[in-house]
Symmetry: D2
Subunit: 342 residues, 4 copies
């Protein structure tokens, strides 16, 4: 029997991506779609690329009959998400795609997001959704917090290296190149085609990006001591993709071997031969991560490049992967479609 | 049992698209891949986006053991295709993606392609691969000729209208906007990113494009009299998509109703409500066609806009759809994935 | 002595383009910049690409001391423009870039724009700003109405042909491909990079686009009888450029010769050799128009393709060209910079 | 009297950019254009965007009458350049845009470029063309070596800081994002629109890029000790622009003040207010450099971001600036045009 899925926040890009994935998923079906600002509209009008599907119209989330829902994805803006989720039925399985449950420490949350958390107990309960590293806990969780898309990319690059102790912890730099869909469907001048196409820029420079909260939490926990990385995101004129160029100290060959070993059995993670580097072209629209390791001419320095699709593996694909675990379905189900190229 | 598939010409975009589609197809598996210029290479090196798949290395086509192949896709350049296909085993089921078997009349072929056909009997035998209109004959065919991508787009716009007699036949104009992957992976100056991005232009203006041969053949057969349309393709800075804006004389409402009726049961063809127009954004990476009909302020004039993905529905998706029929599989199998947006 | 220029509506793309052009213009200098919604801001913050220039800060237009201004460009939205312009000093020379003074007939204006005109006498006084065809009247005008960018492109394609009587008047089709800056800097979902990049679509199909009002007015006046063309704009994923593909009946060679003759002495208009077609790539950022004429395989049909930069020749470049005439400066001054390629 | 200019290698992008700039330059005129592979062709056919100019046809360089040439730009591939330049008249003023005369040490040259230098004495004679730092020597030079475009970008970011001693020398990282025109007009698969658009990747990772030779030479000379930086270029789907994100140790405020002081009188270099970051959008098509400095949350770390147009300030604009000095013209002549935005 297919699992009945509800999506709250279905009118944004991550909501649409969830529907796209579930439409090809043999174990799930879309049972309810909510988007309060567009309630009453059909998905064909909100997202004409989904026109061929037989989908329920958008409702306000309070109208959903949760009794017949097996799992609920929340793709709401942060802060709104915690307010809605705290009102959902107590037993409802939830995968949240917002930032609201990623940080475990209420003080950290307030530090990065500026407000007190409105659902602190749920914050404690939530399992961090980086599947490959929290698999077992996710399988038993009620509430899973999807990671930041940049946070996921950086962690795929660094977690095995920190864990294995093959890199220095005090001089890590993550320079990321991010496609524009990561900014969502919001109407901002700098997201207009005429402002973005044919140019690119850094933003949130110098340690301001909120995904640093996740890096701090996760890398410090792994290392057993505080770890603070430098992270600079850049806005690139493309629609999907994150490319992370990581600069670390350590033996490049040891770094590469650690990567190969760590990800040997992972269905979605491809570690390239030593010296090759990935491209966002080659993961677009898919749940795959490509990782490349290269040595520098400066001895003792390595470069770790990671590529993934921010909307899929960085967000909605990860969410479906987690939902598979939570629902007892095969982890890769509905997620093995090849990337779209060109 | 899954059907064993060979692809000859696997190093181009249509070859890669075939592999992408078959990778998610429950009834097919890739058994052999040939590309004479890149024989010996792995698909991971030729198309890194397919790296996660367990694919055979490229060979020269003569090395394929056709005895264990159920169906062969040929994605070779025209002229090469007829030479290779005429040497394949006589019983081999073949879907050809080249231009070689689209035109039934050897004189037409020579007129448009400049050379005598090297396999005239096979030219006669081949079934034209526009699935929705040749479904029964394709199911029984040994050799199916994939249509031109522009030719498909224009025919989806016009065939039902010509058949129903609701439009004039002597003043049809098809103005098409074509993404660059239609030109293939060939190294030409005008296909460089720096030459193409941020600009656009018409080409093959005035009746020079070879897909006109298909329009002439098919529309004339339908009408029972010679039909000659005007067709101007334009090269647009995008990777996938064809948008055809068709200008016809006729009653717009009657045109729309004819469309609705003709495509009511077609799984891949969506006729939009009257007055709405499609976008290539909404079919990218999919096997769907979106069709829109609008009336003009000038009475008796209608505009028919069609959008499809040239590499998928316009080429490799169509080929898989035809192969499904030829192999006795469900026609839509492996082809229902939603478009990629954004 | 350089002429003192004011720009009202300086925070949009046409305003910025005016400043870009005037910055290299030996006969003009920017003396005042107004943008009521961003008054108080520096141009470096509103348009960082102008950061190197020593420009006045933005004010509200009422703060401009018009006594020291030689000419005023109005780059306001339509309707706002007529309200502001009717309050400017009576002798002020004005080039208006909005739609407000393009149509001479108040009924036509109301028909296309939906409201009564608030300054009907000025509407009568205004000279239509298609420089090459209204040169003498523009030189003596106080108020010049910049044309629509699509309207300019179509008129460059057709005016000499209608005047010379070498084409039919009842079956003209203009299929245009328009870059996104034509839609301005407004925050609309369909103008986001993620929605526009990699796809394209028709809009305002079937005779709804307001620039048709200009075609009707101008072509009918030229022909001495009502002329109604079909015109379909398409939104293309590029920032600058309009490509118009015109379908006409007539002898293609005669069409080409008429073009050559008509534009022989025009400094900004390049008629290509017969059979060649222009590209928006080759006029980007410039005041040039490229025109190509090709015959069709169907006898008696010709295709006229025109390319220009919508922001420059289609709007702000035209405005400066007209201002040159109004101020007694050489017509081409400040406008001869080559296009930017690639 | 305008200076007579010859361009050898006029059929590539830097050659075309030279012509574009000279076309608006009051002190120079194009007297001869050479491109051996396209000799005999008109520039209108090789670069239709230059169609409006009255330019000489392409010849082979041996046909140029150098007696009437005041200065010669060489825009040839490296290695070819040294062969041609060593055959030019001994007194001819030359600005070379290739890599051939950038490195002063023959061993360094061989190390990075793989071959012995064919004109070692000229290599010694050549002045490194980073105008702002070699201004006096360039004014008196016969042969000036244009810098690498990445090399220029990195040096604008770092030279004042190294000179002032405000940053550490052993942990400098330059992560650059490079538009595709930097790769020239060569026909390579990865430069096709279909392969590049909508994706991005690192290349020459780990200290392989030849512009490192320039960094080593220049930074070491400045510091008076060997300096080796890490440098990773990335290919971005845009046509023009380099964005360099530099990671350095040092006090961010001191870094910013050093920048402000160093560039206070430079006409082409804009240092942004502390904490602001530049964008390639805002320098496109111009000779301007935008520089931004930001502090990191990690004390003692600063981020220096630089943006310029690789074809203009990074190559042909720099060449014209140097030629101005060599010819006794005002340094900024012909180079003050504002960027093109959007």
């Amino acid at each position: 029997m297919t699992k009945k899925i509800a999506i709250i926040g279905a009118s944004g890009y991550t909501g649409a991506e969830l529907i796209r994935l579930i439409a090809s998923h043999p174990g799930m079906e879309v049972a309810a779609l909510a988007a309060n600002s567009k309630a009453g509209q059909s998905m064909a009008s909100v997202f004409p690329f989904l026109r061929h599907l037989d989908l329920p119209d958008l409702v306000i989330w309070e109208q959903i009959d949760f009794a017949r829902i097996d799992l609920c994805f929340c793709a709401l803006p942060h802060k709104t998400s915690q307010e809605v989720i705290s009102q959902l039925p107590a037993e409802m399985k939830i995968v949240d795609l917002s930032a609201d449950f990623r940080l475990r420490d209420p003080a950290d949350y307030k530090n990065w997001y500026g407000n007190d958390h409105a659902a602190v107990e749920m914050q404690q309960e939530a399992v961090y959704g980086l599947t490959e590293f929290y698999r077992d806990r996710i399988a038993g969780a009620r509430l899973v917090a999807g990671t930041g898309c940049n946070a996921a990319t950086g962690q795929y690059s660094l977690r095995p290296l920190i864990q294995a102790g093959v890199i220095g912890l005090d001089d890590i730099i993550l320079d990321m190149k991010c496609a524009v869909s990561g900014a969502g469907r919001s109407l901002k001048e700098n997201l207009l085609h005429a402002e973005l196409s044919e140019g690119y820029n850094a933003y949130a420079v110098g340690g301001q990006h909120r995904h640093l909260g996740e890096f701090d939490q996760e890398f410090s926990a792994l290392a057993g001591r505080p770890v603070r990385v430098q992270f600079t995101p850049h806005l690139i004129p493309a629609n999907r993709g994150i490319l992370s160029t990581g600069y670390v100290s350590g033996d490049a060959k040891a770094v590469h071997e650690t990567m190969l070993r760590a990800y040997a059995d992972e269905p979605f993670i491809e570690v390239l031969p030593f010296g090759e580097t990935p491209s966002t072209h080659h993961v677009r629209g898919s749940n795959f991560v490509h990782l490349g390791v290269t040595g520098d001419r400066i001895e003792g320095r390595a470069i770790v490049v990671a590529a993934l699709d921010n909307l899929c593996k960085g967000s909605s694909g990860q969410a479906v992967q987690n939902a598979n675990l939570m629902l007892g379905l095969p982890e890769t189900q509905g997620l093995m479609a090849a990337p779209l190229f060109p």
